[in-house]
Subunit: 163 residues, 2 copies
DNA sequence: ATCCAATTATGCGATCTGCTCAACTCGAAG
DNA sequence: CTTCGAGTTGAGCAGATCGCATAATTGGAT
């Protein structure tokens, strides 16, 4: 049984081309990558299969939807109720992502808000969830390094010597 | 002067359709949204302009590149050296994103690693950066709520009463 | 009532897609 | 070394889509 959910070098090259022009046609991607159109097409088909690439939603900036504020909230939770709390958090639209982490804060919550008042309201909503013992909110002032994964991608494409 | 970098309801509907089928043709999107093909095309053109949508890289899961471990690292930094530290962090491929935040930890760093040893190595690299005073690493055990922005999108599409 | 920007409708040739088939490459197994 | 098979390539074809233009329509602001 092969490991199908892992990108090989061909995938990586294709993804780099897609990163440059996300809506490029298969023909254009074939030229860009040096692969044949057939290969590009069959690879694309697999990539857009559910569970392979992350969702398109990742590309939608909250700022452009009217949510310029981002906050990172850590939470200490009554451990037995962790799943309950997660469900309750999922009910809050402004909660974009929740991570369960090791160590003292149990949860890590990514939140957006329209303004300071809005954030205060959302923080209140989160504190009111049964099982939440303590929270700490940090406002994001600046994105010093924007999300990027290209360095890792290129690492997979370039090195012909290592493997 | 209009506010061009903000999505209206039409954009939101288009984005929802794209979320369902990221590589759908303009014709298909027109049908799905009830808009004309021309509108879809001109909107798409604007959306793929640099600086409007986030990069395609957001959709590439690090796990599929061989980085199954995710860690969230908080940092206390000599404040005058904040930009220096950010630059140094940008030089580490496994650093996917860095946020400057308000409060005691100054930086928030999103890191991936191949395994525990790899993470240890990367953590060492980060600690060695001049200006870094203290770090705290938390391992991500589970993604309790996967990144999603659809709730906010739908909020913009549905409510004809509120505005 | 008038104006203006955005959307829609329609049409055109060039391009691309979805699909198929045969030939080729190359590493693994026998 | 030979055989096998998966992945890739090249070629071809009908039909769909794209990119672009032009004119009509809509709906909100002046």
């Amino acid at each position: 049984m092969r490991n199908d959910d892992r990108f090989d070098q061909t995938d990586a090259r294709l993804l780099l081309a897609l990163a440059a022009q996300p809506r490029a046609t298969a023909v254009a991607l074939a030229e860009e990558t040096g692969l044949s159109r057939n290969t590009v097409q069959s690879r694309l088909l697999r990539l857009e299969q559910p569970g392979v690439l992350d969702t398109f939603e990742q590309r939608i900036p909250p700022r452009a939807l009217g949510y310029p504020l981002t906050a990172l909230v850590t939470m200490v939770v009554t451990q037995q109720r962790l799943d309950e709390v997660a469900d309750a958090l999922a009910g809050v639209p402004e909660v974009l992502q929740v991570h369960g982490i090791s160590g003292q804060p149990d949860l890590f919550v990514h939140v957006v808000a329209e303004d300071a008042d809005d954030l205060y309201r959302i923080a209140g909503q989160m504190l009111a969830i049964p099982g939440v013992e303590r929270t700490n909110t940090a406002l994001v002032m600046r994105e010093l390094v924007s999300y990027r994964i290209r360095p890792l991608l290129e690492k997979r494409v370039l090195p012909p010597a290592s493997r």
